[in-house]
């Protein structure tokens, strides 16, 4: 855990004692633990070696902070990065900057390999999503779509009225509940706020119940 010994600072050590372990991989939400607001920060640690960062890119449609450039710093151990098919040997002390559109993944070559990731969007202020965001996503994962909608509506009302990703997720929850009209309406609003929502909507199984609706076809065509 982060030890906040003063109001003006906080300290955390990436020694494996903090974070959530899942299949031998510990993820630490450094930004939240320390209270950072100006940029995103996560850490990943592999207990025995193996998959450390799953393949993904930072382009496309996200909730806030689209197109982040991401810096990976190997703090301990040794990792092999794969960026757009190219392998990079990254011993402790290596810094790898990856552009938003590049596909990247990393494997830990030694037990205890730890990588810190720092990200933000050039030319944009970093958007700190409120704590309710994680709760809303958890409710969705637990299929409590009503609760998820309620939490997302609360986030919109608390100062993010035009955040396309949140409006989009409300549409998903509504589609999953069979509320076609509401889902179509929110999807339309989300696409107006960020046209890139269309790309995700085309293949998102959360929206399957409205896929045959003519209005949906009109939105994603």
């Amino acid at each position: 855990m982060a030890t906040a010994t003063g109001t003006g600072f906080s300290v955390l050590t990436l020694d494996g004692t903090t974070g959530d372990e899942n299949e031998g991989r510990i993820r630490v939400d450094v930004r939240r633990e320390l209270g950072i607001q100006a940029f995103g920060t996560n850490a990943y640690r592999s207990v025995e070696g193996g998959e450390l960062i799953r393949e993904h890119d930072e382009a496309g449609f996200h909730i806030g902070n689209n197109d982040q450039e991401e810096l990976y710093v190997v703090v301990e151990g040794r990792a092999t990065f794969n960026v757009d098919g190219e392998k990079i040997d990254a011993p402790s002390g290596t810094a790898v900057l990856v552009r938003p559109e590049s596909k990247r993944s990393a494997v830990a070559e030694e037990p205890g390999t730890t990588v810190l990731a720092v990200g933000s969007t050039p030319g944009e202020a970093y958007l700190v999503l409120p704590d309710e965001f994680a709760a809303a996503f958890e409710a969705y994962n637990e299929k409590d779509y009503e609760r998820s909608i309620e939490l997302y509506q609360g986030i919109l009302a608390s100062g993010f009225p035009n955040e396309a990703g949140i409006i989009y997720n409300i549409a998903c929850n509504e589609a999953l509940l069979g509320r076609t009209d509401n889902a179509i309406e929110h999807l339309k609003t989300a696409i107006e706020a960020n046209p890139r929502a269309v790309e995700l909507a085309r293949t998102d199984s959360d929206l399957d119940s409205i896929r045959e609706d003519e209005r949906f076809k009109g939105l994603v065509s």
């Binding site: 010994t5 003063g6 109001t7 003006g8 600072f9 906080s10 300290v11 955390l12 050590t13 990436l14 020694d15 450094v30 320390l34 209270g35 950072i36 607001q37 100006a38 940029f39 920060t41 850490a43 982040q68 450039e69 810096l71 710093v73 703090v75 301990e76 990065f81 960026v83 757009d84 190219e86 990079i88 990254a90 011993p91 402790s92 002390g93 290596t94 810094a95 790898v96 900057l97 990856v98 552009r99 559109e101 590049s102 990247r104 730890t114 810190l116 720092v118 990200g119 933000s120 969007t121 050039p122 030319g123 944009e124 202020a125 970093y126 700190v128």
Partner: protein, 225 residues
Amino acid sequence: MATATGKGYRVIGLDDLRAAPAFTPRGNDDGRERLDVRNELGITSFGINAVRIPGAGELVREHTEKSFGLSEQEELYIVLGGSATFVLDGEEVETSAGSLVYVRPEVKRSAIAADGGTTLLIVGGTPGEAYQPLPPEAAEAFAAYNAGDYEQAVAKQLRAVEQVPDHLIVLYNLACFEARAGKTDDAIEHLKAAADRDREILELARDDTDLDSLRGDPRFKELVA
């Protein structure tokens, strides 16, 4: 040097990185080396640099991130190798490799390396604001200034000001370099422009030795009066 082997990424080994010119006046860095990670990698969305020191000694001089007219940055210090003792608003915090220390802008902070081979990576940004990267010419101007080449410092800094016209310190430093280069009229004009943006900058001007050549000028006296 950064090795740009693909379009989509850049890689550096912090141990292999050459030290950047000192960022303190007259280049006295007491054995510390500053690594300009941000420029080496071409990062533009947050600030990042590193300091290292071969033996024990001061890594971070006492300072806060509140300063004249500039956005206040919060900072994350990442300890890579070795160990360091931080002093944060008077409180000592022992850290070692893998420690992350987050410090709010107003906190007085300093750090001392206890043994050899300590590298600190420092990430900074201002909550709610887009990061405004300083152009590389600002660092080149500082290097020229440290080398005593004030003409070159002015030329580089003018190009930096063109790119970030609203950056108060970049403008103020231009006035300092011009004063050093004996360009009194230009220096007064740019100092005035800086003061128009934030009068507090004149606190700094009152006893900044870089501006000594202006001190006898009535326009300077009027400005700082």
